[in-house]
């Protein structure tokens, strides 16, 4: 049976039953800390037919940015750090790799006894305050004024910290490329990390990201974050649906709207694939300490004054 038809039938039949008020569907209260300049995408999950056109377009548009590793890879010391090699798996389209920055996640669902599947384009969420960028020790991961994050392949050492701190484990490593080869290849670094850069070079030319233009179903819309959030809420209201990405990790610039609660979708995600869980604002924990940093010198100074006056009084 045509997947498209089965999907639409499923959506019509089960939306009403499946929908309860979602915690993530509360009205937009995004703070305006630079976000007003951010570009965001709205992904209407209902529309995706899983044709993979976006994946092909992404591969074509970004092929020249893909790694060309030198082999054999340098021997690593200590041996715990192993080279990572995807160069023989360039054709792999079922997961994120340095040669595949977008993949279609297929989720098999059983809601109210009805079997169906949903397909979701998955790639970097382009977090509003991206830990991959902020915690990169070299500044190799960058964020631009329009909110796009990008890993500079000429600076990245491939230590994979960005992947480690990314709530969705998005960046992927290829060994045998990058700056580490020229520094201490056996002792520090291990390649370069790769991920979706939102086709920033195309955007600079006034074009849309390749995946958006290639999609026959117009699954994705791109625009200023505020507007995209408004659209997402309107759509979620219209279809009695759910929103993901508005609040996750303090807000991302990728907003998914689904007819099915994201908890359900998350349960259907295969092990190792990017999840769809609620994510707290990872950068906010340390940021909350910044006010204590302002108070600290005053406290220190007050303690010194206190000690001085006490000893002055005593003598």
């Amino acid at each position: 049976m045509n997947k498209n038809i089965s999907r639409r039938a499923f959506l019509k039949g089960s939306i009403a039953a499946a929908c309860t008020i979602s915690a993530s569907a509360v009205p937009c209260t995004a703070q305006k800390t630079g976000r007003e300049k951010h570009l965001a995408t709205l992904i209407d999950i209902r529309k995706c037919i899983g044709c993979g056109e976006c994946v092909e377009a992404c591969r074509e548009a970004n092929a020249e940015k893909y790694p060309v590793p030198k082999k054999p890879f340098p021997k690593m010391y200590p041996e715990r750090s192993k080279p990572e090699d995807w160069s023989d798996k360039k054709e792999d389209r079922d997961q994120l790799t340095p040669y595949n920055w977008l993949f279609i996640q297929t989720l098999y669902l059983n809601i109210n006894g009805e079997e169906s599947s949903l397909t979701i384009p998955r790639r970097c969420m382009h977090c509003v305050n991206p830990p991959c960028v902020k915690l990169c020790p070299w500044g190799a991961a960058k964020q631009f004024e329009n909110g796009i994050s990008q890993i500079d392949d000429s600076l990245c050492f491939g230590g994979s910290k960005c992947k480690n701190v990314c709530p969705w484990k998005i960046p992927q490593r290829q060994s045998g490329v990058g700056l580490y080869l020229d520094v201490m290849p056996s002792l520090a670094g291990n390649g370069v990390m790769y991920k979706c850069d939102r086709c920033y070079t195309r955007l600079a030319k006034g074009e849309n990201p390749a995946c958006i233009d290639a999609c026959p179903e117009e699954v994705q819309t791109i625009g200023p974050r505020d507007e995209i959030i408004k659209q997402a809420h309107a759509l979620a209201k219209e279809i009695n649906g759910y929103i993901y990405g508005e609040k996750e990790n303090g807000g991302t610039n990728t907003i998914y709207v689904s007819p099915v609660p994201f908890e359900e979708l998350n349960k259907a995600a295969a092990k190792g694939e990017p999840h769809l869980k609620t994510v707290h604002d990872t950068m906010s924990d340390a940021n909350k300490l910044a006010s204590a940093m302002i108070i600290a010198p005053f406290a220190g100074a007050a303690a010194a004054f206190g000690k001085y006056y006490k000893s002055a009084k005593n003598s």
Binding site: R80, A286, L289, A290
Partner: protein, 147 residues
């Protein structure tokens, strides 16, 4: 620093800041240091980041305490090596504060400036550690008693 207790507190604090600072690079797991019992947290970036901030808070309080005490007590004068160390510490603190600002949401600094801040912060710490090593080896004091 005349007071032995304050001097050891300062050394421990700088060690803790350097440790949690170096832990921002993905090296402690690679070099098995995070495998040492009790040091597993050194491999957890959000924890070391948080700890580095805590260290910075204590450092700012401590610095203000020392500076105000120095000004109020007027018993000592800062040596040349003391001034050098102070200048390095100040530059580390300034680059650190700018990096703290960078970590808030929003585009605050251009990417190339952030690269500069990262390298300056790390480089200055290396310089401080070498200068401190020199000062400890040659018994260079921070302050001397005023005559």
């Amino acid at each position: 620093m005349k007071n032995k207790g304050l001097a050891s507190f300062y050394s421990i604090l700088i060690f803790f800041l350097a440790l949690t600072g170096f832990a921002q690079m993905p090296i402690f797991k690679r070099y098995y240091i995070a495998d040492i019992p009790g040091l597993g947290w050194l491999d957890r970036f959000y924890i070391t980041h948080y700890m580095h901030y805590i260290g910075a808070i204590i450092f700012f309080a401590f610095s203000a305490y020392m500076i105000v005490s120095y000004i109020m007590e007027k018993k000592t004068r800062i040596t040349i090596s003391g001034y050098i160390r102070l200048a390095i510490l100040e530059a580390i603190a300034v680059t650190g504060i700018l990096l703290v600002l960078r970590n808030f949401p929003g585009y605050i600094f251009a990417p190339n400036f952030i690269i500069f801040l990262n390298f300056a912060h790390l480089g200055l710490v290396m310089v401080l550690l070498f200068v401190s090593l020199y000062c400890v080896s040659f018994k260079k004091k921070w302050v001397l008693e005023k005559y």
